[in-house]
């Protein structure tokens, strides 16, 4: 239906832009999300119905994601519920369902993360969907939490994570053994009129130097709305082989941004 025949399609319960998990609304019946249509409570059965209609290649089981500051008790409950829902989802899985990724939560507790990962790895799943990140934990805490999960998981099954998207965060994930990431970073950058400019061979530094100038640029990105680009006829990044850099200049995109033309977002997102 989307016309993306050559691509795989993963269905996950959380969309970091439009459909955010709401831990206060979640209860033993279902998971609660804030959506553009209001708050919705999704039960396992409803979720599986959606999955079987969408026919994705991969899908994640329903999870109770909690932010980093919840109480220990709430965190424990979220792990128990998530594992329970995984069992429910597997039981309701239609025979020709795509590959199921077991959801792993545990907030900011290393112990709970580990426990959840162990429980999920006992189930018959094709891979793992690690949730509950990007909800308040700091970058310093994260490696320990990630490792608590990945140390326990079998090597041969893929691990996907949700909720971390900055380049530095992706690197943290890769270091811990994560394979798949979804990210809203690009979308937010594009809306702001920023273009990524960091060179790939410098990305091995874990802590980039943030020299924020007045216009919000640093050595990782430039703000194309800034007037210094009005006459800049170079491509966004020299040598980049994307359509935008091969065909257009910074000056043109600056103009498009200034006159609020749709094409600006289209070219930048590329």
């Amino acid at each position: 239906m989307l016309g993306l025949h050559g691509y795989s399609f993963a269905a996950v319960p959380r969309d970091s832009l439009l459909c955010l998990p709401n831990c206060d609304g979640t209860n033993k019946i279902g998971a609660s999300f804030e959506t553009p249509c209001g708050r919705m409570l999704i039960k396992s059965a409803e979720y599986m119905k959606m999955i079987s209609s969408l026919k994705p290649n991969i899908w994640a089981s329903l999870a109770d994601e909690v932010p980093a500051w919840t109480s220990e008790k709430r965190n424990r409950t979220s792990v128990d519920r998530t594992v329970q829902w995984l069992d429910d989802c597997i039981a309701l899985d239609p025979a020709d369902g795509g590959a199921v990724f077991g959801a792993i939560v545990g907030g900011s507790s290393v112990g709970e993360r580990s426990r959840c990962a162990q429980e999920v790895s006992r189930r018959n799943v094709s891979g793992y969907w690690i949730g509950g990140f990007g909800l308040g934990e700091s970058m310093d805490e994260r490696p320990a939490l990630l490792n608590a999960v990945t140390d326990v998981l079998p090597e041969e099954k893929p691990r996907q994570i949700c909720g971390i998207g900055l380049p530095e965060e992706v690197l943290q994930g890769v270091a811990a053994g994560i394979d798949l990431f979804d990210s809203t970073y690009i979308y937010h950058l594009t809306l702001g009129g920023f273009a990524l400019t960091f060179q790939m061979d410098r990305s091995k530094e874990h802590v980039p130097s943030y020299q924020l100038s007045k216009i919000g640029s640093d050595n990782a990105k430039i703000n194309l709305r800034a007037t210094i680009y009005r006459k800049d006829t170079s491509p966004i990044v020299d040598g980049c082989s994307c359509y935008t850099c091969q065909n257009h200049t910074r000056a043109y995109i600056n103009h498009l941004l200034n006159v609020h033309e749709m094409l600006a977002q289209i070219l930048l997102e590329m």
């Binding site: 016309g3 006459k231 065909n247 600056n254 498009l256 006159v259 033309e261 749709m262 094409l263 070219l267």
Partner: protein, 396 residues
């Protein structure tokens, strides 16, 4: 003169021609999409080439405001700025002045208005308009004319017509790049055949590379509209391109082509796309309609464009009600439709089956045979027999 216009084939008044411009060799009849601010809303130049766009129109008024014609000139001209390798046409800025700015005032000197940026009084003269267009660098540039709405009557129309003739001389004098850019004159005169005739003669006397028929597409009734087009195309020279400004609807383009016009521009296909409306042979399809929500056919099963080959009405319905992306797909399809219309007109004239094409077109749009009377009258003058697609009138 920086163009070459060769009529390849005719059917009565309709002609299929080759228009050679500095940046591109075009086939007419053709439709020019409007890329107001240096871009067709939401489409890349690559996609425009895919669709078969030959000439894109840029608006002098908007571009002069942002990013300014001086900047465009400094960066090598509009072609280079937007990376469009084919042809460009800029209008004079006059129309926007009059239609967009409530406080615009037209005097012999030019159009005075309040700058929308800082409220300062400004003046657009014929000289200034041409200079701006020289800097932008389009293949075809338009003279500044005194545009009057066709719904106005009285001595204003005559005043505007004569002023347009006086201004064309100023435009010609101010034009610094005649070997690279073609200055088209614009025929005015409202709906008055006498005034129109005088204007045509005056412009033809100046021996310009091409001529436009202006002042239409502004709310006049269709019967008056086609008659003015017919009169002008009959009087304008055979061997030069004729451009009907602001047209428009596919039906209007077919009629004007039958009467002998070659070039058209309009915001309609792209604007209507942004409202969720697709152009199809039967007329229009409103994708926002709830009936579209579960319609799994493509917009037009007979269309070969990327959108119709890959997406269903249901999916586009989903998008247009939520996201700008939906309108981008519709813009693509609608422009593809218009480009194809131009190609079909050109080919059918060359292959000698123009009347059959017109009949087929009308039959799909008016399956009950209720072709509007103005179309029937125009086709009669054009010498195209469309009796096979018209239901018999109750009284003839």
């Amino acid at each position: 003169m920086a163009l070459c216009f060769e009529v390849l084939s005719r059917f009565n008044r309709a002609r299929a021609a080759q228009l050679t411009l500095p940046h591109f060799v075009c086939q007419t009849p053709l439709f020019m999409p409007v890329g107001t601010q240096g871009t067709i809303k939401g489409l890349t130049t690559n996609q425009l080439e895919e669709i078969g766009c030959q000439i894109v129109l840029g608006n002098t008024y908007h571009l002069a405001l942002r990013p300014t014609s001086e900047l465009i000139d400094e960066l090598g001209g509009l072609h280079k700025f937007m990376n469009w390798p084919r042809a460009l046409l800029t209008d004079s800025g006059g129309f926007q002045m009059v239609s967009l700015l409530h406080l615009a005032d037209i005097t012999e000197e030019g159009v005075t208005f309040q700058s929308p940026v800082d409220g300062k009084p400004m003046l657009l003269t014929p000289e200034e308009s041409i200079q701006i267009q020289n800097r932008i660098g389009a293949d075809i540039i338009m003279a500044l004319d005194d545009v009057v709405k066709t719904t106005i009557t009285g001595p204003r129309i005559e005043e505007a017509m004569y002023r347009t003739l006086r201004w064309i001389d100023r435009c010609i004098a101010a034009h610094k790049r005649p070997s690279e850019q073609n200055l088209f004159g614009i025929v005015q005169g409202g709906l008055d055949p006498v005034l129109r005739d005088k204007c045509v003669r005056g412009l033809v006397h100046r021996n310009l590379p091409g001529y436009a028929i202006g002042g239409l597409a502004g709310g006049e009734d269709k019967d008056s509209f086609w008659r003015v087009v017919a009169q002008c195309t009959a009087a304008l020279p055979e061997d030069k391109p004729r451009y009907v400004m602001g047209v428009g609807y596919p039906l209007d383009i077919v009629v004007c082509s039958a009467l002998g016009a070659d070039m058209y521009d309009c915001v309609y296909p792209t604007r209507t796309a942004r409202f969720g409306t697709a152009l199809i042979p039967e007329g229009v399809l409103k994708l926002k309609h709830t009936a579209m929500a579960d319609d799994v056919r493509p917009i037009d099963p007979t269309c070969n464009c990327m959108v119709c080959k890959n997406y269903t009405r249901a999916y586009i319905h989903c998008l247009v009600t939520k996201d700008a992306m939906g309108s981008q797909l519709l813009s693509y399809h609608n422009l593809y439709y218009m480009m194809k219309l131009g190609r079909d007109l050109h080919t059918s004239i060359i292959q000698g089956c123009f009347p059959e094409f017109v009949c087929g077109f009308l039959q799909k749009m008016f399956p009950k045979g209720d072709v509007p009377e103005w179309v029937c009258n125009a086709m009669e003058v054009a010498g195209i027999d469309i009796s096979s697609c018209c239901a018999p009138f109750s009284s003839s």
